[in-house]
């Protein structure tokens, strides 16, 4: 599988960066070309909503990352893969020996009246953020559609720009898919201190200065941000007859159905170790890992992607929130720690002795131990009642499951 | 840890015990005062966590660390561990009216006994103010007529063999002639006929004395075993059996067979380098041992071969040895069991008639006689016994060595002296008096961290030595402890070499029993006579 020719990567996402880093770790000389639409290289997308950041601070890696890593850049949009070439918008052909598609996701758009209006935005790129910033000058009211990860960050962004924000959410709680009722309520209460939160509702009509909700209510809005979420960007894959499902279909080596073509990151669908199924897991660490796996395989060193699971950490107006895995699963045993006064809520769902999901609100200290236990499928039956005790820590992880990083063979 | 009878321990001597014993008001006052420098204390609570006697506590409400002087035993663990050196421990100042006869110590003991009704218990060797004869024996050095030897430049031999030696060598001589180039050559062949009885080979004449698993922690044993291995010497299991894990150090292990016969089976005898029948112990001659059931943990029960949680009682005598011929039977039973491949030692306390007893032991077939003097240590002994029974090891060595030579049987056994050896000079003096080697116990424990608080019998040793408490045993990292022991043995060996070099002696054989290189200073005539040494100022 050793590459001799020219590696081409479409997209400059985290998956692409991690692939480049991995390839360069193993091979300093392989020619790499990145084709990207992003003119500004390379900022971290999750940071676009931080209004108080300089551009410099938003760089994920060194500003000269590509030059230092000896990577050629082509600005433009790849449209289709033909034979062993990527065809650009301008019809130019870029030949490759191995291709990595790391085009990420694209925002979900809604079919709402007025959605095409000038005052409707999405917030996934720095360009989006810049456009919103420009548009918001002298504006007073904003509506955010969707109360998930992007919705919260959009709301914080708009608040940061000095607007009054209303969040409209179709479901009965924020982060509806990953939070249970109790945690949903704590988060909702927190949001309400900073924005108007409208649950169980949706926008049916977007006007220039107001939105009309499904129930007829009218709320002032000079700007609307549609923050329902993202779906895998399948455009180029579909055109190029690369097999797709909900995302680009890849094997454990991140290979697509097309020879010498790999895919990584939010555009793929990958193994979810909790369900055993392949689904899109559009989260940063998964994209990073997939990029590294693809990069390694491209560089000729076989590496498998072991699978991942959904998890996220978000700071909701200062209240930390972490959800892990099937955090809203109802079928398992629930172990809960709750302290209303300090707004701390922790819950773990145990099924067949193993933790399959967890929620941390307010106190997220050492939540990673749970991530590790979910990943390694550690049987917690013996100590499940102590997992939220004050003393709980890595020491509870049975010795035989502890990482080699902790216990060297001989001390 | 091993006390003499179960009733004792329960009523022993701590203030807490006394409270339990339904005394409304104890008349005892603390032994020590703990002082905390407020400018240095950072309230890190290291002292609180380190004190197994709970002398320190943190008052959350007052946000203050408090100390209960009455619980302090002056083990100095807290003072040692305190990262800012904020803690000092001193003798408690109480103005008890000065009285040479009725000392503070006497009074306290009376209060304790009147409040508990129990025998007083203690640990380690006696602290009573007896004359230390070692400090009245002076060593010789070479001047002018005889060059001293620099041990850094010249070989200096400390190797010691313990075991019975024949009086003379036997060999067969065969001469043969053969033709060389020009002339007849003759060679003489010596065929060795002597079969040397089994010997323990020591690279330096020091051994670690018997300390049993139960009295000391497994980590302590591990350290002793590792150090013995590294130094080419031996450690002694005491009477608590040998944990399987330590079998790998068998070639450096002396196993004990004591009156309780704990842990004795054929594997135990087989794995050892030598077997020692323990008749007595310097700290408690004539007294048995008692390990309370609560200390017989799973591991200790395995090793001692008794059920978990049962009291481990060592009877005062061996109930199969009521006379010298019984001892001989046991000696030969063990020799039979081990195929006459290991030296057999018999350990006794130095009592008044020690010379005759030792002679009897040698004639009964022992290859080594280990004699434990008045200052011998213990994990637990009744205070009165420890402080009043036996004779000093200095006199015992001399008496025994002289007696065995008079009887012409000195070669038939080696003498190991034990009981309060504090430094290499003591060792040199003991060897010059006639010992082949010495057992060190307390010195080894101190090397590992012991601060001689004498509370071994409580099982709460803050240094992780004399305890089985899972929280405390971890405090002794056998790796570190072994390193410290090795350093100690090395240091003493260097010093012994230095002293020998000064005397113009380059092999320890020439020091052994060489009483002419000793002089008594400030010793009574009778002591000089028994020690068989000349007073300082008298020449050859």
């Amino acid at each position: 599988m050793k590459s001799s020719g020219k590696i081409v990567i479409i997209g400059s996402s985290v998956a692409a960066i991690s692939a480049i880093e991995t390839i360069r770790e193993k091979n300093k000389n392989l020619p790499i070309t990145v084709i990207t639409k992003d003119r500004d290289l390379f900022y971290s997308r999750p940071l676009i909503s931080y209004t108080n950041f300089t551009d410099e601070q938003r760089y994920y890696r060194d500003k000269n990352f590509f030059r230092k890593n000896n990577v050629d850049l082509i600005f433009g949009e790849a449209t289709i893969v033909k034979n062993n070439s990527v065809v650009l918008e301008n019809k130019k052909n870029v030949k490759f020996s191995e291709l990595l598609i790391a085009v990420g996701g694209k925002p979900i758009t809604l079919d709402i009246k007025g959605i095409d209006g000038k005052n409707v935005f999405t917030l996934t790129t720095k360009d989006d953020a810049d456009n919103i910033k420009k548009f918001c000058k002298n504006k007073k009211h904003a509506v955010v559609i969707g109360c998930g990860m992007i919705g919260i960050k959009a709301a914080e962004f708009l608040k940061g720009l000095g607007l009054n924000v209303s969040i409209v959410e179709l479901m009965d709680k924020p982060f509806a898919s990953v939070l249970d009722e109790k945690s949903g309520k704590i988060i909702a209460d927190k949001i309400k201190k900073h924005a108007k939160l409208i649950l169980n509702n949706s926008v049916s009509d977007i006007k220039e200065n107001q939105c009309i909700l499904k129930n007829g209510e009218k709320i002032p809005s000079d700007i609307v941000i549609c923050a329902i979420g993202v779906v895998p960007n399948l455009d180029i894959a579909k055109k190029s007859q690369i097999k797709t499902n909900r995302g680009i279909v890849v094997d454990e080596f991140m290979r697509t159905s097309r020879k010498n073509v790999y895919a990584a990151g939010d555009c793929t669908e990958a193994l979810d170790i909790l369900s055993g199924k392949k689904i899109p897991i559009p989260i940063w660490p998964v994209a990073y890992r997939q990029g590294a796996v693809a990069g390694s395989n491209i560089a000729g060193i076989a590496k498998e992607y072991a699978g991942g699971f959904v998890r996220n950490s978000v700071d909701v107006f200062g209240l930390p929130l972490i959800t892990l895995g099937l955090s809203n699963d109802k079928s398992g045993e629930e172990i809960v720690f709750s302290d209303e006064k300090s707004k701390v809520y922790k819950k773990a769902i145990v099924k067949d002795g193993k933790i399959i999901g967890a929620i941390f609100v307010g106190d997220i200290a050492r939540a990673g131990i749970f991530t590790g236990m979910i990943k390694d499928g550690i049987d917690v039956s013996n100590f499940k009642n102590e997992i939220f005790s004050e003393n709980f820590g890595y020491i509870y992880v049975p010795k035989e499951f502890r990482s080699k990083e902790v216990t060297p063979i001989e001390i | 840890m091993e006390s003499s009878a179960s009733v004792l321990c329960k009523s022993s001597v701590s203030v807490q015990c006394i409270r339990k014993a339904n005394m409304k008001k104890s008349l005892l006052f603390p032994d020590f005062t703990v002082t905390r420098d407020p400018d240095k204390c950072i309230q890190c609570e290291v002292c609180v966590r380190q004190c197994a006697f709970d002398a320190h506590s943190f008052d959350k409400e007052a946000n203050k660390i408090e100390t209960d002087n009455s619980k302090c035993v002056s083990c100095l663990r807290c003072a040692t561990m305190c990262p800012t050196g904020a803690i000092t421990v001193s003798e408690h100042q109480q103005n008890i009216k000065k009285n040479k006869n009725w000392t503070e110590k006497q009074l306290k003991e009376l209060y304790k006994q009147s409040e508990t009704g129990g025998i007083l218990l203690t640990g380690m060797g006696t602290d009573k103010d007896y004359k230390i004869i070692w400090d009245h024996i002076l060593l010789d050095a070479a001047q002018v007529t005889n060059p001293s030897i620099d041990p850094l430049r010249e070989p200096m031999e400390l190797r010691t063999y313990l075991g019975a030696k024949p009086d003379r060598i036997e060999f067969r001589v065969q001469s043969s002639e053969f033709r060389g180039q020009n002339k007849k050559l003759r060679t003489t062949n010596y065929e060795l006929q002597t079969k040397l009885p089994p010997q323990l080979k020591l690279e330096t004449p020091i051994l670690f004395s018997a300390m049993s698993y139960g009295a000391i922690s497994l980590n302590t044993m591990r350290a002793l075993a590792r150090a013995a291995d590294e130094c080419g010497i031996f450690y002694n299991t005491g009477e608590g059996g040998l944990p399987k894990e330590l079998y790998k150090y068998g070639k450096n292990t002396i196993v004990q067979v004591a009156s309780g016969r704990f842990g004795v089976d054929s594997d135990y005898l087989d794995v050892a380098a030598a077997v020692e029948i323990k008749v007595g112990q310097g700290a408690k001659p004539g007294i048995g041992g008692h390990l309370p059931g609560e200390k017989v943990t799973e591991e200790i029960s395995q090793t001692r071969m008794i059920p978990t949680g049962t009291d481990a009682l060592s009877p005062a005598p061996h109930h199969d040895i009521y006379s010298i011929e019984d001892l001989s039977q046991l000696i030969y039973s063990i020799k039979e069991a081990t195929g006459y491949k290991k030296p057999l030692s018999v350990k006794v306390a130095a009592v008044h008639n020690i010379a005759a007893i030792a002679s009897g032991i040698v004639r009964a077939g022992a290859d080594i006689v280990a004699i434990d003097g008045l200052r011998g240590g213990t994990g637990a002994a009744p205070t009165r016994i420890r402080d009043n029974v036996g004779i000093p090891i200095e006199l015992a060595i001399s008496a025994v060595d002289s007696r065995l030579r008079e009887e012409g049987i000195r070669n038939r056994a080696s003498i190991i002296a034990a009981g309060g050896f504090r430094n290499s000079a003591d060792v040199v003096k003991a060897i010059a008096l006639g010992a082949d080697a010495v057992y060190i116990g307390t010195a080894a424990l101190v090397a590992m961290g012991c601060h001689l608080c004498q509370k071994c019998y409580t099982g709460k040793c803050n240094w992780g030595i004399a305890t089985q408490d899972p929280y405390l045993v971890k405090r002794l990292n056998p790796e570190i402890a072994a390193r410290r022991l090795v350093n100690l043995i090395k240091a003493w060996s260097h010093e012994i070499k230095e002293i020998m070099g000064g005397m113009g002696i380059n092999a320890v054989e020439s020091l052994r029993g060489n009483r002419l290189r000793l002089r008594g200073f400030d010793l009574h005539e009778n002591e000089l006579k028994i020690l068989d040494i000349k007073p300082a100022g008298e020449s050859m």
Binding site: R311, V314, G372 | C44, K474, I480
Partner: protein, 152 residues
């Protein structure tokens, strides 16, 4: 690379490592001064865990495929190419806690005293031996290179 390892057999939870860590990361680096003047704002970079008699001090393992580096959206968490150590850049950190979520050892901590940022063991960077290792009286913490431990 050289890492800090614990030996739970000999950890007695005296917490001297924690004190040393705290002092090493204080302004004055003087124990009494640090405690008396800076104390509430000091955060140790290691965690002492206790479960019955069992205890150990655990700090960043500097994993090869470090989950915190993978999860960090800002690039604040980086693995040094030469040293192999995982370092954290306070200036870049935005306090999203993705690292805390990801670290299977739970050894990344929150430092919210000045700015909301993550904090963790830095191996005492320029010092020959990390302060915690140096302070451990029982060698329950050792700083050494262990071959074959580079896999997570």
């Amino acid at each position: 690379m050289k890492k800090i390892y614990f030996n739970e057999e000999y950890c007695m939870a005296c917490r001297l490592c924690e004190i040393a860590c705290l002092v090493a990361h204080s302004k004055s680096k003087k124990i009494i001064k640090a405690y008396k003047e800076e104390f509430p704002s000091l955060t140790p970079r290691l965690i002492i865990e206790q479960k019955g008699p069992l205890s150990f001090a655990i700090q960043c393992r500097h994993c090869k495929d470090a989950p915190c580096v993978e999860a960090c959206v800002t690039g604040a968490m980086k693995r040094g190419k030469k040293t192999g150590a995982v370092s954290h850049d306070r200036e870049k950190c935005v306090g999203c806690w993705m690292c805390i979520m990801s670290c299977p050892f739970g050894v990344i901590l929150m430092d919210t005293k000045e700015k909301k940022v993550a904090t963790k063991c830095d191996l005492c960077e320029d010092v020959r031996e990390p302060a915690c290792v140096d302070a451990c009286p029982n060698e329950a913490l050792v700083y050494k290179e262990v071959k074959g431990s580079e896999k997570k």
